[in-house]
């Protein structure tokens, strides 16, 4: 269709119609001048646009709603975290004394959680509370383990992961202890609770939502 | 899933008076077998073999019994069968013994065996007929109860009734 419109008139037709076909350049110039003269409301660019834009709307289309882009604060992904060593304690910071205030804080937190932690309070209630509590800052001791060399390790819990506890010992050493196959003892104001690590393999954030089952074997 | 395999013991109940055979039913046979098992193999053997033990088929006219048991312990039941000396029914005791004809893995092989066995028996017995009338009477009775279509395959009456 387009080709037909743009095609030059045959020479014999010129004679019949009494018009002279313009050269291509001349024709273009003519068209722009013509349009400019008639469509005074539009700027030259817009006209140009119309001439160039050849899409023809044949049916009704709804106007697209512009979706608002929610801007997320993009954090670091796991790989970047690993590379930057964000969660790794620097060797110069692996000091037991540095974490003592954290331990004091934790004790305060547990006392608040258990309504004061009186000596006559029900151990079962405390256990229920402890189950959902956060243990960062607690003094953990490995009471039982399948691997004998872990047994007896004591220190402040500095980091809890899904499968391991990272604790810092009195000798300022950072120890990574797998939760599986070990039993940990937590002492607070005379109450000693045992944590069966194999049943505790969760992140601390997930644990607060988890329902612990009473059943099941607690054998290592 | 693994199929629980069974063994089927095809037995013939031998009694002195064939009219006593009509007293047979599943319960009496099963009871007799259980007693024999306890006698032969004690509580231990009984407990081992009693699961899955059942009387699958019983023909009171011909005295054919099909017992089903677990494959793992069928020897216990098999060896206990000779210890059955009589069947008790409503205080009446019928002296008998069990003759184990065939041990099969499926009911179908037992059935096939029974057909073959009975044909064999028929061929063995026929020459013993005294007169021609007897022989034709037997032939007639055999033909009357067989399925017409494959009359030569099924030659004994209890076969047609098998499941």
């Amino acid at each position: 269709m387009e080709a037909l419109v743009n095609a030059r008139l045959p020479a014999d037709h010129e004679h019949i119609l009494h018009i002279v076909a313009l050269k291509k350049k001349q024709a273009e110039k003519f068209t722009t001048a013509f349009l400019k003269k008639n469509l005074t409301s539009m700027t030259e660019e817009k006209i140009n646009d119309i001439v160039q834009h050849k899409a023809v709307l044949l049916h009704y289309a709804r106007k697209k709603k512009e979706r608002k882009k929610i801007k997320r604060t993009k954090g670091l992904n796991a790989k970047q975290r690993r590379e930057l060593k964000v969660f790794q304690l620097k060797p110069e910071n692996q000091k037991y004394e540095l974490f003592l205030p954290l331990h004091e804080l934790w004790k305060q937190y547990i006392r608040d959680l258990c309504n004061g932690l009186k000596p006559d309070s029900n151990p079962q209630n405390i256990q229920q509370k402890l189950l959902k509590a956060d243990f960062h800052g607690a003094v953990l001791t490995v009471a039982k383990s399948k691997c004998p060399s872990y047994v007896g390790t004591t220190g402040i819990l500095v980091q809890e992961m899904k499968h391991v506890f990272k604790i810092i010992t009195m000798e300022d050493k950072l120890k990574v202890i797998p939760k599986r196959n070990s039993v940990f003892a937590v002492e607070i104001d005379g109450f000693v609770s045992h944590i069966f690590g194999s049943k505790f393999e969760l992140r601390s954030s997930e644990r607060s939502a988890k329902k612990f089952k009473v059943k099941g074997t607690i054998d290592l | 899933m693994v199929r629980l395999k069974s063994r089927y013991l095809l037995c013939e109940v031998c009694v002195s008076d064939r009219s006593h055979l009509l007293l047979l039913d599943d319960g009496t046979v099963q009871n007799a077998a259980k007693h024999a098992l306890i006698q032969a193999h004690g509580d231990y053997g009984f407990a081992h073999s009693i699961f899955g033990f059942s009387v699958k088929y019983l023909n009171a006219h011909t005295g054919i019994v099909l017992l089903r048991c677990r494959k793992s312990h069928y020897r216990l039941i098999w060896s206990a069968l000779p210890f059955i000396t009589g069947l008790k029914k409503r205080g009446q005791k019928v002296p008998c013994f069990f003759n184990c004809l065939h041990v099969g893995g499926t009911i179908r092989t037992c059935q096939k065996f029974l057909v073959r066995y009975n044909t064999q028996q028929l061929h063995r017995m026929l020459p013993l007929c005294h007169s021609e009338e007897e022989r034709s009477a037997i032939r007639k009775s055999v033909l009357s109860c067989t399925v017409q279509k494959d009359a030569d395959a099924d030659s004994e009456e209890d076969i047609g009734e098998e499941d």
Partner: protein
């Protein structure tokens, strides 16, 4: 039963005839030989003691019959039919030593454990059931080992 014997240092001992050895005034010193037997003993020995609810006396034959009956209860005529010996029975202490083939050990042991009542015909009419239990003190493939039971060592 694998009674396979491994011979480590066998030397040609049997080459010497018996007569030759007798002729020599002093016998030749034995050469080193080592044999390792696995499951060499065809028997197992059990030392048991009986405990009755009331005071009871019984003869060795009665005891053996009692055990045979127990075996028959559990394993029946077929399974319970295996030989065993009552080597010794102390009628005062009610202790006994049994000897049984290896193949019958498990059966005998389990039958002994499950024995619980002792039938004794006191009068001609009444059958008295006496509760009793059998304690298995020691089981060993060597009869010699039964005489050295260190668990019986009592010191005060």
């Amino acid at each position: 039963m694998d009674r396979g014997a491994k011979v480590f240092g066998a030397l040609g001992q049997r080459l010497y005839s018996n007569r030759m050895r007798r002729a020599a005034k002093k016998e030749e010193p034995a050469t080193y030989e080592r044999l390792v037997y696995k499951n060499t003993s065809v028997y197992h020995y059990m030392s048991i003691s009986l405990e009755f609810e009331n005071e009871e006396t019984l003869s060795p034959a009665q005891l053996k019959q009692f055990i045979v009956n127990g075996l028959k209860d559990i394993y029946g005529e077929v399974g319970g039919a295996f030989p065993f010996d009552l080597l010794k029975f102390d009628e005062l202490k009610l202790t006994a030593i049994l000897r049984v083939y290896n193949s019958g050990l498990v059966k005998l042991w389990s039958a002994l454990t499950l024995l619980s009542s002792f039938d004794q015909e006191r009068c001609a009419v009444r059958v008295n059931q006496e509760r009793c239990a059998v304690r298995v003190n020691q089981v060993s493939p060597f009869l010699l080992a039964l005489s050295g039971n260190s668990r019986e060592l009592e010191l005060h």
